[in-house]
Symmetry: C2
Amino acid sequence: MGIAGEDGTGAELPGLLERFSEIGRKNGTGIERLALSDLDATARGELQALWAERGLHVYRDRIGNQFGLVQPLDSAKPLVLVGSHLDSQPDGGRFDGQVGVLGALAVVCGMRDRGLIPSGVNVGAVNWTNEEGARFQPSVMGSSVFAGVLSLDAALASSDTREVRVADELERLSLAGDAELAGRVAGYAELHVEQGPRLEEEGVDIGVVDGTWAAYKADVVARGVQTHTGPTPMAKRIDALYGAARAIAAVHELGLARTDGRLHTAVAWMRITPNSPNATPSAVEFKVELRGPDEELLARTRDELLGLLGGITAESGVAFEVGVWSERRAESFDAALADEVERSVRELRLSTKRMPTIAGHDAVVMNAAGVPTTLLFVPSHDGITHNAAEFTSDVDLVNGEAALAAAVQRLCARVLAA
Amino acid sequence: MGIAGEDGTGAELPGLLERFSEIGRKNGTGIERLALSDLDATARGELQALWAERGLHVYRDRIGNQFGLVQPLDSAKPLVLVGSHLDSQPDGGRFDGQVGVLGALAVVCGMRDRGLIPSGVNVGAVNWTNEEGARFQPSVMGSSVFAGVLSLDAALASSDTREVRVADELERLSLAGDAELAGRVAGYAELHVEQGPRLEEEGVDIGVVDGTWAAYKADVVARGVQTHTGPTPMAKRIDALYGAARAIAAVHELGLARTDGRLHTAVAWMRITPNSPNATPSAVEFKVELRGPDEELLARTRDELLGLLGGITAESGVAFEVGVWSERRAESFDAALADEVERSVRELRLSTKRMPTIAGHDAVVMNAAGVPTTLLFVPSHDGITHNAAEFTSDVDLVNGEAALAAAVQRLCARVLAA
């Protein structure tokens, strides 16, 4: 395993990460900064102040995405963005997202200070709004609005469980602006923690992402009949939670049954009505997701699940309303760009591995929108993520920062050549 | 099936019920008036105004129980209380509770007006605070504090999911007083809808309750490890919701498997942490209840369930923390009193049936506390309850009111003879 940064570059990320991990620190080593919360606003304010202090030109767009550009926005030059997100999961880890935003700050300023930005290109750091989708659905919200695949109005109208809307929070916390950068973007780079165990298991420094897994997701409602949990005879009950429980177990077991690792399944969110201890639930909403590299396998799994739900209905009386399946295609990243980036990273004496991303990322959105994109992974200890125990070593952070700098230089060259 | 009230008595309950069902009307024929909500306060205010208008003396105690007495409280006479509760389930029905509170008003005033209250006894109507336990746990809160089996401090400190305490709402809505009536109570009568299908199925007018089912209840926490729903390999996941789903299905199936109707099981409330679409849950809390007439069967079922949970842990890695089991004993009601009440009800040419109550009621609390208690049921159409479709016919309401009047007269005679 190599260590980059021996020439004094790439030493900034561990310190920046330590500093930002104090904002919303939770569960010891973790953070909790839900999108558009007070703590998210604090982190955004700190980031903006730091950008300004380092001489970056700060912009915000209508969905609250933040940009720190080396040159002012009115330049006619193509723009290369580098970033990720500062929002976290509830009880989240401190690496997921932050690594990419703070790495971008270090890399962009470092390249500028060392004269490595070609004069024909503008380079900027970015913090995308609400990547996690924990509080407001959908996830990757800010980058999706930026890329034009989610309407601004739909995003602004999204509301949390207390009926607070994205628009309300952007206004309350004064987080939005009116900058329009989307038309100028010619390249995007992101550094992220792997969130899986493969790099660590194989002793590899840097993952160069070459594609995404497909994902099928659907909202399901189990419908029963609300009645008293006491006197109603068991045979007369149509208990939505019983039906939902069987369905949720079935979803998990479809994934468990594939021992080749090509199918990941989960239900992680649900809402029970009325959720009163003495009333059998009338409705249980839950979100099903199926992920894998093979869309045909996902389609078969979806059909198998629908068959299982039919069986549960026949036995329990609980009906299932399955919403429209959102089908995220398995996408490829630009292979020539990945080749060039991988070569540059190896020149730093770091080992690399081509791998897909299973999780969604802002880079996945940019790539799908046709922007030349490079996404780099650093190892996640034991693959633990969305958890305070999430961990990436300082050595890996320094390696990641150096790799990101190399990737951005390669991307700038590519943009100039286009 | 008989119809009481041919002499002009017992005709008040249907009209009163219609009037109060406008407060918090929901889902067409249902109501939603959670304990200590604004709508509960409105209903309480209307009740108190009506009591005062009818010349009853109004008192409130520290937990917000309301009393409307025929004679002022400072009398040295033994007190016979008649009542139930005005709070409802979320998406609840309009008969559960209201029938007993409004029936009490009609019966107490009717007896007084017709000179049927013996001079040695004081009689009062009562509305108990938070019978349902939907918003604040435990259920039967007001009657339990009154009976001395739940401390006032514990009840006041109970909080809802938004961390609002019972004490906060009592103060905000000015619902508490400082009357102390518990020491004077010598008898209690309650009219309630059956909430099961038996009276209707057997064509019986009035159920005379002779005992309660036992209930074993426990709070359970399923513990997993929070991680990303995407990249984490299935074999590495310890998903608390998967474990909880299997456990909840198992609870239901234990009850389903007993085809003799002597075991009712349910999980109706749960809370998921963090409940974020992309993070496998770290913890799922849920409430298990087992009910039946046979405590030995409940103990065996509890042990069988614990064995099943152990099996789920072995297979999924999800650990279960099972809290202390609250074991509500199967209790008998005073058999001699039930005999007398049944005889009086039959004199009205109403058919009767001795039956247990499976649901908890304020009358169950009073009976367990040693107060001579009578609890009468009227039929619930199809046994549907805790649901807007809950239905009891006007004929059955009129029958119930007449039966309650007869029962209270019998109870007064019993109290005088004691």
